[in-house]
């Protein structure tokens, strides 16, 4: 576990609305450099909304998001991303008619082109499967490969903070393990900071250094991954079939 404590991302009292409907009711959380932080919660708790609010789409109505010492709350999305936040969005959202290589090129759109080959080699080392599929169209990949591509595409932008929105969605347990192993490797070897939103609470909390639990747009619990895994409420709500 990382011992550094300087904060890379800090969310303070963020409230987000969809029209009149409240999605986030004053969320506070911190992500420190070199950490894997996860947020777990049921459907509709506001996990993805938080992820999208960090990227400025939609923007927070109240509160502040500080990234790397800068207030990014009201910045346009492309400027936030250009500061080193990469997101692998929910549902993967790869470009189906473009090849794997072109998808990765899109990920590197904001990076100096001379670094492309180096970065490409790096993501292929992480996901060798993508190398085999290099000239195949994104839409013809399997679900797991598409998720790998979505993460690899996000990595191509050389992020300081990687946001992952439900990378285990709809994938077989074996593939989920591969992907979580890759995330752990990224964190341990490259020191990449990861903020992970998950429904797969068990895997996510085992992987993460720290975790938050979100219910109805509020953060109800936080602690280290191991702590949260032991908590009775977490076990009941997220690990044992949703019984209370």
């Amino acid at each position: 576990m990382s011992t550094r404590t300087d904060t890379l991302l800090s969310v303070r009292g963020v409230e987000t609305y969809y029209g009149k409907i409240v999605a986030l009711r004053g969320v506070d959380l911190d992500v420190h450099r070199g950490e894997i932080v996860t947020m777990i919660g049921a459907n509709g708790a506001g996990k993805s909304t938080l992820m999208m609010t960090i990227c400025g789409q939609p923007q927070a109505r109240n509160g502040q998001i500080i990234y790397d010492g800068q207030d990014i709350t009201l910045m346009p999305t492309h400027e936030i991303v250009s500061r080193g936040i990469a997101q692998s969005p929910e549902g993967r959202r790869i470009f189906p008619r473009m090849t794997v290589l072109e998808n990765l090129q899109m990920g590197a759109a904001l990076v100096d082109p001379s670094l492309f080959d180096e970065d490409l080699a790096k993501v292929f080392k992480l996901f060798p499967r993508l190398k085999e599929r290099i000239n195949q169209r994104g839409g013809t990949l399997s679900g797991g490969e598409q998720q790998m591509l979505a993460i690899a595409r996000a990595l191509m932008s050389r992020p300081k903070l990687l946001l992952l929105d439900e990378p285990s969605l709809g994938l077989a347990p074996l593939i989920v393990k591969q992907i979580f192993d890759a995330i752990r490797a990224l964190n341990e070897e490259e020191g990449l900071t990861v903020f992970l939103v998950e429904q797969n609470a068990f895997h996510a909390l085992k992987l993460a250094h720290r975790g938050y639990v979100m219910v109805n747009g509020n953060i109800t619990m936080s602690g280290t991954g191991a702590e949260l895994l032991k908590r009775e409420e977490v076990r009941a709500a997220y690990l044992e079939g949703g019984r209370h």
Partner: protein, 464 residues
């Protein structure tokens, strides 16, 4: 036939596949419907008679129409609707199997067409000396539509922004040149870049309000924009001369030489005999080069980050945002560059015609250009060429089908049926090749060997 509407395949019965009885029953039902619906349309004829209308019953025609519907429905039931496999599916399997061969043939075809286009005027002057002017004029027209198709392809095919008002930029280009020539005495070559620039500016002006729109909503707004431009041109009489149009638009010069008879003309300068055909050949090469520039720029842009961003935008806008693409600027450049080529083509149109009026820039033009792009296959350059040749050349060919008059009587004018044939062609292509003639998308970057997968194999990226 007026009653053909009752034969909708949607109503195809879902009973026992081989039951003759069910087929006959269904056909009888269709015939009954045809009888009811056709009674007034076919069975009764009104003639103008002194003191009003005279009703005349046409029992023969009515009964024949019922019989035709019965027989047609029965045959369709037996051989199409009730067969275990729909006929169209067999056809489309055959076609998609030929996908890779088609793409291969496309490559050969591309260079073949290019070579032919290069020598085209001389081909016609040599082999069809009597009708060379007509053919070269047609080639100019087709080439104009190819260029417009390629320009629109940037907006619709690459960036995926459905633009129903593309003719607006064509009109802006044409009127820019015509007005610059009329008020400021500009020549074609001086006005051409300005016209492109003005059209691009209008592209951005249109682009701004529609940035947040997609799909149907975008289409409606662009359609309105196309009409607004036309209506303004029509009503701003003091400036544009409204419906009277602008005439006397100057012809392009060859490095300052006019293509005219006598002293100081092109023929005189080079010491060759003057021939009016030279002007057509010259115009042909201008539009040929303009179209080539359009194609070249598009192909180059596709390999650059901006072009890739266009395609990514078409696939998934949210993913684009999450990757830090500035979607606003990306869309605006697509609108601007597409509009610029429309403006160039418009200038050329003005100089070729020598006369323009708002009549030339109706919605039908937009529809034809869009049809060329869609039928050719969104994003496919060679597809646009084929579609333009078929659609624009096809209409002209209709004029030459004299034998049809022997079949349908001397009053039959095939050109009158062009919209019907258009519609039919479109329905057929959309049934068999729903993503256009050339639906494979050539990757813009490749490592090692190439692999082609038909677009129909891949989930449709609508990017909502």
């Amino acid at each position: 036939m007026a009653v053909s509407g009752t034969k909708t395949p949607v109503a195809g019965p879902q009973g026992d596949p081989n039951s003759l009885q069910a087929s006959i029953k269904d056909a009888a039902m269709a015939a009954f419907l045809a009888g009811v619906l056709g009674f007034f349309f076919i069975g009764i004829r009104t003639d103008i008679a002194p003191g009003g209308l005279d009703l005349k019953m046409r029992w023969g025609a009515w009964i024949i129409s019922i019989l035709i519907v019965f027989a047609g429905r029965l045959l369709l039931n037996l051989f199409v609707y009730k067969t275990r496999r729909p006929v169209t599916r067999n056809l489309s399997i055959g076609l998609s199997g030929s996908e890779s061969r088609l793409a291969q043939a496309g490559k050969v075809l591309k260079w073949g067409l290019f070579a032919f286009a290069l020598i085209l005027p001389f081909f016609f002057t040599t082999f069809f000396p009597g009708r060379d002017r007509q053919f070269i004029d047609l080639a100019i027209l087709i080439m104009t539509y190819i260029m417009l198709g390629w320009g629109l392809n940037i907006v619709v095919g690459l960036a995926g922004l459905l633009d129903l008002g593309y003719v607006a930029f064509y009109a802006v280009g044409a009127y820019s040149f015509a007005l610059l020539a009329q008020y400021l005495d500009f020549g074609f070559w001086l006005a051409l870049p300005l016209a492109g620039l003005l059209a691009a500016t209008w592209g951005v002006i249109l682009g701004f309000p529609v940035l947040r729109l997609r799909g149907d909503y975008l289409a409606i707004v662009t359609l309105a924009f196309g009409e607004i431009i036309r209506v303004v041109l029509l009503n701003w009489y003091e400036f544009t001369k409204g419906p009277d149009g602008i005439s006397g638009i100057p012809k392009p010069t060859f490095f300052g030489l006019e293509l005219k008879r006598g002293e100081g003309g092109f023929a005189d300068f080079f010491g060759i005999a003057y021939d009016p055909i030279q002007r057509f050949i010259f115009l042909y090469y201008i539009i040929f080069i303009l179209a080539l520039i359009t194609n070249f720029v598009t192909m180059r842009l596709r390999r650059l980050p901006i072009g890739r961003a266009w395609e990514a935008l078409r696939e998934d806008e949210i993913a684009c945002r999450s990757l830090g693409i500035n979607t606003r600027n990306t869309k605006l450049t697509a609108f601007a560059i597409g509009a610029m080529f429309g403006g160039f083509a418009g200038s050329f149109f003005a100089t070729r015609q020598g006369f323009i009026s708002p009549e030339s820039f109706t919605f039908l033009e937009s529809a034809i250009i869009l049809a060329i792009v869609v039928l050719g296959g969104l994003g496919s350059q060679i597809g646009v060429v084929i579609a333009a040749v078929v659609m624009i050349g096809g209409i002209e060919m209709l004029r030459n089908l004299g034998f049809l008059q022997q079949v349908f009587g001397s009053g039959f004018d095939p050109v009158q049926y062009r919209m019907l044939i258009f519609g039919l062609a479109m329905v057929l292509i959309m049934v068999w090749k729903p993503r256009g003639l050339i639906s494979t998308r050539e990757p813009s970057a490749v490592l090692k060997e190439k692999k082609r997968i038909g677009a129909d194999m891949v989930a449709q990226g609508e990017g909502h």
